[in-house]
């Protein structure tokens, strides 16, 4: 089973990387109103019950992969 975890700066949290990306895109002529930069974490897991895996991944996100004060996360699972 493969898990993809998307970690994003929460709305309202200053994201200077996103601002730099947005301004670079503008300079290249791409019209972008806002850019936010997050992080992708790919995990390979043993095959098993999806809901168990999801609960484990939630714990992993809360404890390590994201800082819930400043980041939100999304978990996608594929068998």
């Amino acid at each position: 089973m493969r898990a993809t975890i998307l970690v994003r700066p929460k709305p309202g949290i200053l994201d200077p990387q996103g601002e730099a990306v947005q301004s670079s895109l503008q300079q290249l002529g791409f019209h972008v109103d806002e850019a936010r930069v997050g992080r992708v974490i790919d995990l390979e897991l043993d095959d098993g019950d999806e809901s168990v895996a999801r609960a484990e991944l939630e714990r992993a996100c809360e404890q390590l992969l994201a800082n819930p004060l400043i980041e939100s996360y999304e978990i996608a699972l594929e068998s």
Binding site: P9, I13, P16, A20, L64, N67, L69
Partner: protein, 232 residues
């Protein structure tokens, strides 16, 4: 008259810490016995205070301080703090304490995205802490910063609580990193845990341009000594 007792202070070395020896040198000169403690230790020696030094623990992977927080020694540091022990986090040490939940808030990349390395002016907002007792209220200090991720972040509710409890101990004069309300250093509610981005250990000798860091580290050494004497 005999010399005052030298409190023993632990400095935690994580893989990637690089200001541990500077902190040890500064604390020794200010009257403490500094003991370096490796991150893999599960117990602390018998000490009167703990310092988490600056550096780039675990290469700053994932988020600054996110991995150091799970080092074996952090369990002992947490117990020490919970029992009211004095814990100081400098720069990366501040980031580790925030990630560990021993201090409120979080640190994000500098608003400028630039690494800042220069002397900054700081205002002492609280002198009733074990880390600032030698300073005068409102005193201006000059202490260097050197970090890429020192932008302090807290939501409105937390900020209101920090202001009301007097937990904002230091603020920047000219804000070098975009920190909310120019916060440079915060304490926990009970004021026995304190973290700051500037490096007091780099400002204890006139040769380095300022000795204002000695006000902070000297406060810590004297507070640690007082605790030693009270416990004896």
């Amino acid at each position: 008259m005999s010399d005052p007792p030298r409190p023993r202070i632990a400095i935690i070395t994580f893989p990637g810490s690089n200001d541990d020896r500077d902190a040890a040198l500064a604390l020794e000169r200010l009257g403490a016995d500094a003991t370096l403690v490796w991150h893999a230790e599960s117990e602390l020696p018998d000490v009167a205070a703990v310092v988490l030094p600056g550096g780039f623990s675990y290469g700053d992977y994932l988020r600054c301080g996110a991995i150091a927080r799970f080092a074996a020694v952090m369990g002992a540091v947490r117990r020490f703090a919970d029992e009211g022990g004095l814990v100081l986090g400098i720069c990366n040490g501040f980031q580790v304490l925030c990630e560990a939940g021993l201090l409120p808030g979080a640190l994000r990349p500098n608003a400028s995205l630039s690494f800042v390395c220069r002397d900054v002016a700081l205002h002492v907002e609280q002198v009733d802490t074990p880390f600032t007792s030698h300073a005068q209220p409102g005193q201006e200090l000059t202490i260097p910063v050197k970090h890429g991720e020192g932008c302090y972040v807290a939501d409105a509710e937390l900020l209101a609580r920090l202001e009301a409890n007097g937990q904002i101990v230091l603020r920047y004069g000219a804000n070098p990193n975009g920190s909310v309300r120019a916060i440079a250093g915060v304490a926990n509610e009970t004021k026995n845990v304190f973290g700051l981005m500037p490096h007091p250990e780099h400002a204890v000798d006139p040769l380095l341009g300022s000795t204002d860091g000695a006000l902070i580290l000297g406060s810590l050494v004297d507070s640690a000594r007082e605790r030693l004497l009270t416990a004896a």
